[in-house]
């Protein structure tokens, strides 16, 4: 079981913003799809620190990222 960040695509697509990508401490983990205008998480690299949740929910009040439990292979 891993605790990782997950982006709610439908919510995230409303905004053209990539602040979470700019504040994630891990390289190449929170990525941004510039065609769909959504951020996405490389689950195998995410360490579950939830800094992105702080940026998205507390700073920007957009609530597009949540933390989820995941089992290997999901």
């Amino acid at each position: 079981m891993y605790y990782v960040a997950d982006v709610k695509e439908s919510e995230c697509a409303k905004y053209n913003c990539k602040q979470c990508v700019l504040f994630c401490p891990e390289p190449n983990t929170l990525m941004y799809n510039s065609e769909k205008h959504v951020a996405w998480v490389n689950y195998s690299r995410c360490k579950g620190c939830a800094v992105c949740v702080y940026v998205c929910s507390d700073l920007l009040k957009r609530n597009c990222i949540e933390m989820v439990m995941m089992t290997t292979g999901d």
């Binding site: 990539k18 990508v21 700019l22 504040f23 994630c24 401490p25 891990e26 390289p27 190449n28 990525m31 941004y32 510039s34 690299r45 360490k47 579950g48 620190c49 939830a50 800094v51 949740v53 702080y54 940026v55 507390d58 700073l59």
Partner: protein
């Protein structure tokens, strides 16, 4: 290294690891990127064993994205947390004994000047508060007295993070740590003023709350170190383990410290200012 060493010889692409092929195809080598474009590139730093939510790891990530010439840069580190990520990047990394980073960097920079007189080679030291202001204090100061042309970056987590939480010269006065239960009795060392007096030509102090500002500061420090003299950046990178900061609050903590005692501060000599302005103009022109 150099740009020609980074590139894959024709016909060998299929034998190289995918991460490396991505790095050459979509990476930073041979081009200038804006830190805001960090989502569109393959970053120089790879997966590393630093703690979840570590803002030193975040600073290292932004640091590599802001290098003006990653293919011609050499990074030096010492024992401490930062080397865990620094050693996982596609930029040559030298790991000295504890505290000798600035002495090694002095020799390295001089040797590079002799070996590559017509090329620009950047040498950057990134070590913690223990490596630069406690154990490596003498070598750090003397490299500045000698006006050696390289950049020193102090990632200040205010504690000896991976040996159990002993107080360092940079821990704030009164703070209680796991291996300093009575509280620290002395003031935090004023590294910025020391650097100014010791002969640095560009000195900056900041907290990692604004990636654009971090990138600009790092670029300026590296540019000024090419021609003018030693440069120094003091950055607050909290230790969320030893200071018991919940991982999702590390950015909030950095913002708070920025308001209190880590407000953005930048100082440079007139000569450095003139040189930086010229170089920044040149860079803007080549980009446009």
């Amino acid at each position: 290294m150099g740009l020609e060493y980074v590139k894959i010889s024709p016909g060998f692409e299929k034998y190289m690891p995918k991460d490396y092929v991505d790095l050459v195809k979509y990476g930073q080598f041979g081009r200038q990127i804006d830190v805001q474009q960090i989502d569109q590139i393959k970053e120089l730093v790879e997966e590393h064993p630093m703690c979840a939510g570590c803002y030193m790891a975040y600073f290292v990530r932004i640091f590599y994205a802001s290098l003006p010439k990653p293919e011609d840069t050499i990074v030096l580190g010492t024992a401490g947390c930062a080397r865990l990520a620094l050693s996982q990047a596609a930029v040559p990394f030298i790991y000295g004994n504890y505290g000798d980073t600035n002495a090694v960097a002095s020799g390295l920079k001089r040797a590079l000047n002799i070996r590559f007189p017509d090329k620009v080679k950047d040498v950057v030291v990134m070590a913690g508060d223990g490596g630069l202001m406690d154990i490596g204090f003498g070598m750090t100061m003397h490299s500045w007295f000698r006006r050696e042309n390289f950049t020193t970056i102090m990632v200040d987590n205010e504690v000896y993070g991976n040996t159990g939480g002993q107080e360092s010269g940079m821990s704030p006065k009164g703070v209680q740590l796991k291996m300093a239960p009575k509280g620290k009795k002395f003031d935090k060392i004023n590294a910025v003023e020391l650097a100014k007096i010791a002969g640095c030509v560009y000195v900056a102090k900041l907290a990692p709350t604004n990636p654009k500002r971090i990138a600009k500061t790092i670029k300026r420090a590296i540019l000024a170190a090419r021609e003018i003299g030693p440069t120094f950046i003091h950055i607050y990178t909290s230790c969320n383990i030893e200071y018991s900061i919940p991982t999702e609050r590390v950015l909030a903590d950095a913002k708070e410290r920025e308001k209190n005692d880590f407000g953005f501060y930048e100082w440079m000599t007139d000569e450095a200012k003139q040189y930086i302005e010229e170089q920044e103009k040149k860079m803007a022109e080549t980009k446009a």
